[in-house]
Amino acid sequence: MSRATPHETPHETPPKVRVERTFAVDPLSRVEGEGRLRVVVRGDEVVTAELSIFEAPRFFERLVVGRHPDEVLDMVARICGICPVAYQMTAVEAFERLFQVQLDPQVRQLRRLFYWGEWLQSHALHIYLLNAPDFLGYDSALDMARDHRRIVERGLALKQAGVDLMKLIGGRAVHPVGMRVGGFYRLPSRAQTRAMLPVLDQALADAQETVRWTAAFELPDFERDPLMLSMYDREGYALDTGRLVATEGIDVDPGDWDTVFTEHHVEHSTALQATGIDGKHHLVGPSARIVLAGDALHPLAAEALESSGGVEVIRRNMFAAITARGVEMIHAIAESIAIIEAYQPPADAWQAWEPRAGVASWSSEAPRGVLFHRYEVDEQGHVTKARIVPPTSQNQLFMEDDLRGYVTGVLDLPEFEAAARLEALIRCYDPCISCATHFLRLEIERS
C-alpha cells in the first residue's frame, strides 16, 4: 500500500506508555451499505474488534411470505442493487429443484452467462472503483482518474461489458426482469448474443491486463491460514452447481447449508452472523473459491493466476483478494465467450411446471461468496417461510478476527492512519452491507 507509512510521517511519535486506544471508522466508505468498525486496544491487548452493520432492516424474509415463486424472484433482486442476479439465481434454482423442472441445456447455459455478467460488473466495480484506490493512495477512483485516467477507463469498460451481458439477458443490469421459474421470459437471438463477442474479446485482454496490474501491488504484511468454504464442481468453476466444500471436513449438498452452519443475532449489528455449528467460521468469496475450486478455472485464468504469484498468496493474504477477483474476471469472460459461440436458441424460452409443497433450498456463488436460500412453500407454491443468508453475514466474524489480528501491526501509526489501514483491510472482503443487513432468519444463539 502506498498510503502514508511510518517512514513518511517521522514527526508522529508513538506513545511510549500505551493506554487504551480506540480505532474507529464510522461510517465505512467505498463499501456497499452502511457499517462501522471499532477496535479497542489496551496496551498490546485487543479488547474489542467489532464490525457493526447499522443499515436499516428491510425484512425481506417476511415480505416474500404469501408470494408466488416468480414474484419472489423479482422481490429478492431488490435485496442488492449490485448482485440482484445472485439472489434471483439462488432462488430460481431452489424452486426448480423442488418442482423438478428439467431445464433445457441451452437455457442452463444462458443462466450461467447471465451470472458471469454480474460477476464481471461487480468485480470490475470493486477492483477499480472501490479497492484499487487503497493500493495507490487515493480517496476515490475519481481522484485516481486524474492521474490514471486510462486505467480507470479500462475498469469502467470492463464493468460495462458485464452490464451489457446482463442487459442482453435480463433487460437491465440493476433488477433485471428476464428470469422466471422454468427458464426466461424471452431469449436473446443468436445474432444478439454474438454481437457481444467483440466486446468480450477486448474485455478479456483488459482483464488479463488487470491481473498484471494488481499482482504488482505491494501487499501489507499480514498473513493467516483461514478455513474457507465454496461451491465446487470439477466440471466447471464454482458458480451454482456441484457441492459445498470446505478446507476441512465439510462436503454437503448446496441445499444443506443449514445442516452445517447457523446464524446468531448480536446487539451491535442488524446483520446476523453465520458460523459453523462446530463454532468455526469460514471465509467465503473470491479467495476461497480460488483456493478450493481453482483446479476448475479456465486455462487462461489458471495461467494468469500462476503468473500473478500463485494460489498461496491469495490463501494467506486477504489483500491479494483483488487479484483473485481479476483472475475470476478472466474466467467469467472466457466462459462467456464459449457459451455464446455454442449458443443455439431453443424452441421454448421457458417450460411449464407444477407447484408442490415442500422445502426449496440451494446455494450459489454470489460475487462475494456463498449465498444460501431456503423457502417453505405450500401446495400452490406460495412461500410460507423464508431464510436468506448472504455471503457478508458469513464473513462477518472472519472480518472481526482479521481486525483483531491486523491491528497489532499498525499500532505504531498515527490514529487516523491506523484506522484507514483497518478500513482498507475490511474493504478487501467487498462487504455488501445492503445485502447482509436484512434478512437473516436466526436460530437461538448457542452459548
Binding site: 461510517p27 463499501v31 436499516a56 432492516p57 431488490r78 480517496d139 482518474a145 433488477h175
Partner: protein, 291 residues
C-alpha cells in the same frame, strides 16, 4: 427546480437510507461520463465511492436514495435538508417507500413486532419504525427521479439541467404509450397477463412488456392513474382473485396512494391479508404506525 448558474462547481452529495444501493450505482454506471462530471460538479459526499467525506455538507444538490424506516434516519434526513439547497430523491424507495413499505400492512398480522420476530432472534436489539415512507412525507423535495432502479438517461438529463439551471425534461407518459411507440403487442390483450402499464409512468422503455410479461410498476403511478378501474379489469376480464390483484399492485411502489387504495380495497398484500372480521382494527393499526 432551477439553480442559478455559477462558475464554481456545484457541491454534490449522494446519501442513502433504507435501500439496495442500486440507484446510487446509477452514478457509477455513467461510464466515462462519470469522470467528466467532476469538471462541473464537486462530489463532496458519496460514501459508496469515496473516502473523502463531508457528511454535513453544505450541499448545492443532495441526492437521496432510500426510504425512512427508523427514528435515526428521520432525524438525519431533517438535518441534511437544512444543509442542502436542492434535495433530489432518487428511486422508488425515496419517492414512494420501496418494497420495504409493505411492512405498513403488518398491522393485518401481528404488527411490526411480528415482522421483527420473523427475522431476528432478539427483537429488542432492532430499532425500526412500523413504516418505511417516502422522503417527501417528511421534508420538502425539489425534484425526483423515479424507478426501481432509476434510469441513467434520466439521471444524465437531471444533472445536465441542474448544471445549466433549467428544468429537467422527464417523461410523464404511461408505459402503455411506450409499448405503442415500440410496436410491442399488448400482453394483457394478447396473453391475458395482468399488466400495470395503463397506470404507471414510463421511464423503463416498457421493458417488461418487451419481454412478454406484465409491467409491475417500477416507476410508480402516473398523474390521474385510475387503479380501481384497472383492478376491476383484472377481476372481470382476467378472472384474478382479490389476493392476486393485491399481489400485482403490492410491488415496488405499493405505498403510492393510487396503488395503496387498490391494495387496501383488495384486503392487503399476500402474506399480510386482513381477516374479514378484524378489518376495522387492522386499518387503525396501519394508520397509527408512525409519527
Amino acid at each position: 427546480m432551477a439553480m442559478p448558474k455559477s462558475d464554481k462547481p456545484l457541491r454534490v452529495g449522494v446519501v442513502k437510507f433504507a435501500s439496495c444501493d442500486g440507484c446510487q450505482l446509477g452514478f457509477l454506471d455513467l461510464g466515462p461520463a462519470l469522470l467528466d462530471i467532476g469538471l462541473r460538479f464537486s462530489i463532496v459526499e458519496f460514501g459508496e465511492a469515496s473516502s473523502r467525506r463531508a457528511p454535513d455538507g453544505p450541499f448545492d444538490v443532495l441526492f437521496v436514495e432510500g426510504s425512512i424506516s427508523t427514528d435515526d434516519q428521520l432525524r438525519h434526513l431533517r438535518h441534511l435538508r437544512d444543509r442542502a439547497s436542492l434535495l433530489v430523491t432518487i428511486g422508488a424507495c425515496a419517492t414512494s417507500g420501496g418494497i420495504q413499505a409493505l411492512r405498513a400492512w403488518a398491522g393485518n398480522d401481528r404488527g411490526i413486532a411480528g415482522f421483527i420476530a420473523a427475522v431476528y432472534a432478539t427483537p429488542e436489539y432492532v430499532d425500526t419504525l412500523a413504516t418505511a415512507t417516502p422522503v417527501a412525507d417528511h421534508v420538502q423535495v425539489d425534484a425526483e427521479l423515479r424507478g426501481c432502479p432509476i434510469d441513467t438517461g434520466q439521471l444524465v438529463e437531471l444533472l445536465t439541467a441542474t448544471a445549466i439551471g433549467r428544468r429537467p425534461q422527464l417523461p410523464s407518459d404511461a408505459v402503455c404509450v411506450e409499448c405503442k411507440r415500440a410496436g410491442t403487442v399488448c400482453v394483457m390483450v394478447s396473453r391475458g397477463e395482468p399488466c400495470l402499464g395503463p397506470i404507471i409512468s414510463s421511464g423503463c422503455g416498457a421493458l417488461c412488456p418487451g419481454m412478454a410479461r406484465g409491467c409491475y410498476g417500477c416507476f410508480g403511478p402516473r398523474e390521474s392513474a385510475n387503479g380501481g378501474s384497472l383492478a376491476d379489469w383484472y377481476r372481470g376480464s382476467l378472472g384474478l382473485s382479490d389476493e392476486r390483484v393485491a399481489a400485482r399492485f403490492a410491488g415496488f411502489t405499493a405505498w403510492a396512494p393510487e396503488l395503496r387504495e387498490v391494495i387496501d380495497a383488495a384486503g392487503g398484500p399476500p402474506g399480510m391479508r386482513r381477516a374479514a372480521s378484524t378489518a376495522a382494527s387492522a386499518d387503525a393499526d396501519v394508520d397509527g404506525g408512525v409519527a
